[in-house]
C-alpha cells in the first residue's frame, strides 16, 4: 500500500478497494512505527486526520469526490494550519497555534486531502540540511547518518520513507528540489506567484514559492492543480488560468529542445553525479528531445546574490517575531524595551536564523545598501536575462539539482559557505522566478541523484510532461530505501 502513488491510491479509493479512514490509519501507524528514527514530523494530527478521512469517505460515497479526496498528505510546518501548532521549526513559534489556514492548506482541505501532520524543516526554512530545526535534524531514509537536505527535509524524508504519499514544501533557493534530489523523490517548484504565499510564513518574499514533494511527476501535477491559482490575499499571486496539469501530462511530447549549461558540469560538480545526469540527458535524447549546449554565464554569481537578497528580506520579515503579540517570550522580564526585544529574539531564534538576520540587516544599512542590496538586484537581473536568452533557443534547461549526493549530518553545519554552495544549481530559478523540477535520475554509491529541469515562466505543463515521460521510461523514482520498502 505505502508504495503506491497518489494517483494509484486515488484509484483504490474510488474503486473502494480501501477507504480513506483505512488508508489514513495505515499511514498514521507507519509514522508511529518509523518516524522516531527519521524525525520527519513535528506534529502528527491523528485525530483530526481520521475525522477528515471519514468526511472524505462520505464525499466519495456521495459521488462528490475530487481527485485528491481522501488522500493523506503532510504540510511543511511553515504553512499556517488553523488550530494546529505552526512552529516553522523554531523555538520562537513552539507555542504558536495558528488562528487561520494558509491558502495552500485551505485549498487542499477543500479538495478533500487529509492532513496527517506538520513536517520538520530548517528553522524558518533557513538551511540546506534540516539541521537548523529546533526539533532536531531529520535523517535521510537512505542512510540515517546523512542529511535529507533542506529546508523541506521533513516533507522529503516522509515521502521517501513512504510515511505519506505526498507533501507540501517551500522553495526559496532550492528547498524543495534539493531535498527531493537527496532522498530520491520528485520535487516541483512552480513559477513565482503560481501558488499563493498567504499563510506561508515568509522567509524571503520575492523568492518564496510553495511546491510539492511526491514520488512522481504525475502526483506533483495532481497536487499543483489544487494548490495553484490566483489568491486575492496575495498581491504577487498570478492571475493566469490554471491548466489541468494531470490531463496535460499525457499530451504529445516531442520536438523539445533541452538546453544543457556546460558550466553546470564544471569542477564544482561531483563527477559521479555528473555521470548520472549525463546519462539521464541521454535518456531524454532517446525519448526524442534535442540537446543543445547553452551558456548561463552568471550562475557563479547566483549564490552570493541570493545570500544578499534573501537575508535582506528575511531580516525584515522576521521582525514581527518580537514576543509582543505571539510566540516566544523570555521568562526573564526586567529591564527596558531594547532588552525585552534582545532577550525574546536572542533566546527564541537559532544560530543560522540570527546569522541571516544580521547579514540582512547589514546589507540594508545606510551606506551599504547600494554596494550590496542594489548590486545583488542587478545580478539578479543578469541571471534572469541569461535564462531569457536561453529560452529564446531552448524549451527547457536541464542539469544537476545538487553538486553531490546527500552528505553526513554535521559535515557542513559549521561551514556556512560550503552549506550555501549546495544550492548553486537551484538558486537561479528562484532569482529568476522560474518553475523547476527535480526528478530521481540514478544513484551514486547507493545514494539518489537528482536531475533538474528548469522552464520558462509558467511552463509547468511542459516541465511535468517531460518529467513524466522520463519517469515512464525509467524506474529511479520507484526505488525504495532499505527498511522502508
Amino acid at each position: 500500500m505505502h508504495n503506491r502513488t497518489l494517483a494509484q491510491l486515488a484509484a483504490a479509493l474510488r474503486s473502494r478497494e480501501v477507504s480513506s479512514v483505512e488508508l489514513t490509519q495505515y499511514c498514521l501507524d507507519r509514522i508511529a512505527r518509523l518516524d522516531d528514527e527519521l524525525n520527519a514530523f513535528i506534529t502528527v494530527t491523528a485525530e483530526q486526520a481520521l475525522m477528515q478521512a471519514a468526511a472524505a469517505d462520505q464525499r466519495i460515497a456521495d459521488g462528490e469526490a475530487s481527485p485528491l479526496t481522501g488522500l493523506p498528505i503532510a504540510h511543511k510546518d511553515i504553512f499556517c494550519t488553523a488550530g494546529v501548532k505552526t512552529s516553522c521549526a523554531s523555538k520562537m513559534l513552539d507555542n504558536f497555534i495558528s488562528p487561520y489556514d494558509a491558502t495552500v492548506v485551505a485549498r487542499l482541505e477543500r479538495a478533500g486531502a487529509v492532513m496527517l501532520g506538520k513536517t520538520n524543516m530548517d528553522e524558518f526554512a533557513m538551511g540546506s540540511s534540516n539541521e537548523t530545526s529546533y526539533y532536531g535534524p531529520v535523517h535521510n531514509p537512505w542512510d540515517h547518518a546523512l542529511v535529507p537536505g533542506g529546508s523541506s527535509g521533513g516533507s522529503a524524508a516522509a515521502v521517501a520513507a513512504r510515511l505519506v504519499p505526498g507533501a507540501t514544501g517551500t522553495d526559496t533557493g532550492g528547498s524543495v528540489r534539493q531535498p527531493a534530489a537527496l532522498v530520491g523523490i520528485t520535487g516541483l517548484k512552480p513559477t513565482y506567484g503560481r501558488v499563493s504565499r498567504y499563510g506561508m510564513i515568509a522567509f524571503a518574499s520575492s523568492l518564496d514559492q510553495a511546491g510539492t514533494l511526491t514520488r512522481s511527476a504525475a502526483d506533483a501535477a495532481l497536487m499543483l492543480g489544487v494548490m495553484a491559482g490566483h489568491d486575492e490575499r496575495d498581491s504577487t499571486s498570478l492571475a493566469d488560468p490554471v491548466p489541468d496539469y494531470a490531463a496535460e501530462l499525457e499530451q504529445a511530447w516531442d520536438g523539445l529542445t533541452i538546453g544543457v549549461p556546460e558550466n553546470f558540469f564544471d569542477a564544482g560538480l561531483d563527477q559521479n553525479n555528473a555521470a548520472c545526469v549525463r546519462q539521464a540527458l541521454g535518456e531524454l535524447e532517446k525519448l526524442g528531445a534535442k540537446l543543445k549546449r547553452i551558456e548561463l554565464n552568471n550562475v557563479h554569481l547566483s549564490v552570493p546574490a541570493y545570500y544578499v537578497v534573501a537575508p535582506a528580506e528575511a531580516s525584515s520579515n522576521l521582525s514581527r517575531f518580537d514576543g509582543v503579540r505571539f510566540g516566544f517570550r523570555s521568562e526573564q522580564q526586567s529591564g527596558n524595551l531594547a532588552e525585552f526585544y534582545e532577550r525574546n529574539r536572542g533566546e527564541g531564534f537559532g544560530a543560522e536564523v540570527k546569522r541571516r538576520i544580521l547579514t540582512g540587516t547589514y546589507v540594508l544599512s545606510a551606506g551599504y545598501y547600494d554596494a550590496y542590496y542594489l548590486q545583488a538586484q542587478k545580478v539578479r537581473q543578469l541571471i534572469s536575462d541569461d535564462f531569457a536568452r536561453a529560452f529564446a533557443e531552448v524549451d527547457l534547461v536541464a542539469g544537476p539539482t545538487t553538486p553531490t549526493p546527500a552528505f553526513s549530518l554535521g559535515q557542513k553545519s559549521n561551514d556556512p559557505i560550503q552549506m550555501y554552495l549546495n544550492d548553486i544549481y537551484t538558486i537561479g530559478a528562484n532569482l529568476a522566478g522560474l518553475p523547476a523540477i527535480s526528478v530521481p535520475c540514478g544513484f551514486v554509491e547507493a545514494l539518489p541523484v537528482g536531475l533538474q529541469l528548469i522552464g520558462p515562466h509558467l511552463s509547468e505543463t511542459v516541465l511535468l510532461r517531460t518529467a513524466h515521460q522520463f519517469q515512464l521510461a525509467t524506474d529511479w523514482h520507484q526505488r525504495v530505501p532499505a527498511g522502508y520498502a
Binding site: F79, C80, T86, C88, L93, F96, S98, P99, Y100, A102, R197, Y198, G199, M200, I201, A202, A204, S205, S206, E232, R233, D234, S235, T236, A312, E313, S315, S316, L318, S319, R320, F321, D322, V324, R325, F326, L337, Y341, T361, L364, S365, A366, Y369, Y373
Partner: protein, 477 residues
C-alpha cells in the same frame, strides 16, 4: 543680526477610507482597543498586505488639486524599526518613488498670497497607539489605528514664519476636507504635523541646522512651537553656540519644545522595496476619471464668490474656509432676497458666533440656511429691523419657533407707518428741547442721540431709516 526663518512642514493626514490601507478591517475611530485589528494588522505570521485602491484614488485627487505630478508607477517600501505598536517591525510607506510629487498650493496671507511648493505626498500605513498612562508599570497597545491610511504631505522649505506655516497648514487642511479625503479631525489625530525649522542670516543661501518639531496637532500649536523654536535658535546662535540637529517634542501644557532624541542616535530605517506588494500603477484614464470627480476647490470657489457675489476677498476667504460653510452660504443666498453681502455678514457674524459659542459644526447649525433666508427677507420687507432680527435669530436658535411666529408672538414687527413714527419723533422733540436747539445751531452730532432715544422709546421697533427722515424733516421746520 537679521535672521531669516526657514520652515518645511510634513503633514500626516488620515485618509477616510472605509477599511485600512492593507487590510479589510474598519478604520472607524473610537472603538474598543484592538477590536478593529485583523490578523494582517496584528502582523501575524504568514499574512500579506493587499492595497486598498481607494487610498490610491484619494492620493491622486490630492495630487491633482495641488498641481502635482502623478507617478504612473510608484513603489511601497518597508521602513524598518522596532516598537510595540508597530506589529510587523516595519511600516509600509513610500520612499524613493512617491505617488505624487512636485506641486504647489497658493496660501492666502492677508491681502496677498504665496505659492508654497509641495515636494511630495506619499501613502503609508499608520502605527498603533501605545498607552503608557493607564497601566501600572506596563504599557497598553491599541492596534485599531495600525494600518489606517495616511498621506504624508511634505512641503518645500519655503515657509518663512510661524504665521506662514500656520496659514499653509490651514490651506492643506481646508483642501483635504474639500476633497473629501480626510475628516481633518485634529483631536482624533487625523491631521498631524511635524515642522523642520532652521534660521540663517538674511541673504545667506546655505540652510542652517534644522530641528524637527514633533507632535504639532493644532494650528495654534504649530505657530507657537515654531515661534518658540525660532527664538531658541536665535538665542543659541547669537550666544555663539550651534543649533543641534535633533527632534524636539512640543509640550503644549508647558508651551515649550524639548529634545526627543538626537538624529545621530536615530534609527537607520533600512528602507527597501516591499516584495509583498506590486508597484502601484496609475493609468491616465484613472487620472482623468478622478479629475472629473474633483469638487470645486477653495481657490476657485473664493474667486467665484468675489466675482459672482461681489464679496470682499476677506469675506470670500472666510466663507470658503470649509466646504460646508460655503455650501451653507450658497444655500442662504438662493433662499433670500437680501444682498449676498448682507447674507455674508450674517454667516460670518451672528451664525459663526452662535456656532462657536456651542462648539457646533455648521452642518449642525440650529438655524438652517432656508430659515435664515426667511429672516433676512423680513428685514428686506421692512417687517423688522436688523437689530430686532438678531433677537429673532437667537430665539429661533433656542428653538422658540419659526421666524413669523416669533415676530408675531413677541410683537417685534417694525413700526413703519408714518403716523406712529411722527408721534415718536414729536415726543422726542418735546422731551429734549435743549438738544433740538443745539442741532438747529449747527451741532449736527446730536442727531444720533435723538435717533437713539426714539429707537429706545420704540423698543427698537421703529424703522430707523424712516425715523431718520422724519426727524430731519421736523427739525428743519
Amino acid at each position: 543680526m537679521d535672521w531669516e526663518v526657514v520652515i518645511g512642514l510634513e503633514i500626516h493626514t488620515q485618509l477616510n477610507t472605509q477599511s485600512k490601507i492593507f487590510s479589510g478591517a474598519s478604520t472607524r475611530y473610537g472603538a474598543t482597543p484592538n477590536s478593529q485589528a485583523c490578523l494582517v494588522d496584528l502582523g501575524y505570521p504568514g499574512v500579506l498586505p493587499v492595497l486598498n485602491r481607494e487610498a490610491v484614488n484619494m492620493a491622486v485627487k490630492f495630487g491633482l488639486a495641488t498641481h502635482c505630478k502623478i507617478a504612473p508607477r510608484s513603489i511601497f517600501a518597508r521602513k524598518n524599526y522596532f516598537y510595540p505598536d508597530l506589529p510587523k517591525g516595519y511600516q509600509i510607506s513610500q520612499y524613493e518613488l512617491p505617488i505624487v510629487y512636485a506641486g504647489y498650493v497658493d496660501v492666502v496671507l492677508g491681502d496677498t498670497s504665496k505659492r508654497i511648493g509641495i515636494t511630495r505626498a506619499h501613502l503609508e500605513e499608520d502605527a498603533g497607539k501605545s498607552l503608557h498612562e493607564d497601566f501600572r508599570g506596563m504599557s497598553g497597545i491599541d492596534l485599531n489605528r495600525a494600518g489606517t491610511p495616511l498621506l504624508e504631505i511634505v512641503s518645500e522649505p519655503e515657509l518663512r514664519s510661524a504665521t506662514e506655516a500656520g496659514a499653509y497648514m490651514r490651506t492643506i487642511h481646508t483642501l483635504v476636507r474639500y476633497l473629501g479625503i480626510s475628516d481633518g479631525n485634529m483631536q482624533e489625530g487625523s491631521f498631524r504635523c511635524d515642522a523642520n525649522v532652521s534660521i540663517r542670516p538674511r541673504g545667506a543661501t546655505k540652510l542652517g541646522t534644522r530641528a524637527e518639531l514633533k507632535n504639532l496637532n493644532s494650528f495654534r500649536f504649530v505657530e507657537r512651537a515654531i515661534e518658540h523654536e525660532v527664538e531658541r535658535q536665535i538665542d543659541i546662535l547669537e550666544g555663539g553656540g550651534a543649533v543641534a540637529q535633533e527632534t524636539r517634542l512640543y509640550d503644549s501644557d508647558r508651551d515649550e519644545t524639548r529634545p526627543m532624541r538626537s538624529k545621530e542616535e536615530a534609527n537607520d530605517y533600512r528602507y527597501f522595496p516591499d516584495p509583498d506588494l506590486l508597484p502601484v500603477l496609475v493609468e491616465e484614464t484613472l487620472i482623468e476619471k478622478l479629475r472629473l470627480e474633483l469638487p470645486e476647490l477653495p481657490d476657485a470657489k473664493r474667486a467665484r464668490f468675489v466675482a459672482d457675489y461681489e464679496l470682499p476677498a476677506y469675506d470670500a476667504e472666510l466663507l470658503t474656509a470649509s466646504r460646508a460653510t460655503a455650501d451653507y452660504y450658497e444655500q442662504l443666498v438662493t433662499h433670500t432676497r437680501a444682498t449676498p453681502k448682507i447674507a455674508a455678514n450674517w454667516v460670518i457674524g451672528e451664525l459663526t458666533a452662535a456656532l462657536n459659542r456651542e462648539a457646533l459644526d455648521i452642518e449642525d447649525s440650529k438655524v438652517a440656511p432656508e430659515v435664515l433666508g426667511e429672516l433676512l427677507d423680513e428685514i428686506e420687507n421692512g417687517t423688522i429691523s436688523g437689530k430686532i432680527a438678531k433677537e429673532v435669530f437667537e430665539a429661533i436658535w433656542r428653538g422658540e419657533g419659526d421666524v413669523k411666529e416669533i415676530i408675531a408672538s413677541q410683537g417685534l414687527e417694525q413700526i413703519s407707518d408714518t403716523a406712529s413714527i411722527e408721534a415718536l419723533v414729536d415726543a422726542a422733540i418735546a422731551k429734549y428741547p435743549l438738544q433740538v436747539q443745539q442741532f438747529r445751531e449747527g451741532k449736527t452730532q446730536v442727531l444720533g442721540f435723538l435717533i437713539g432715544q426714539i429707537m429706545q422709546a420704540s423698543q427698537g421697533k421703529a424703522n430707523p431709516q424712516q425715523v431718520n427722515a422724519v426727524l430731519r424733516a421736523k427739525l428743519a421746520e
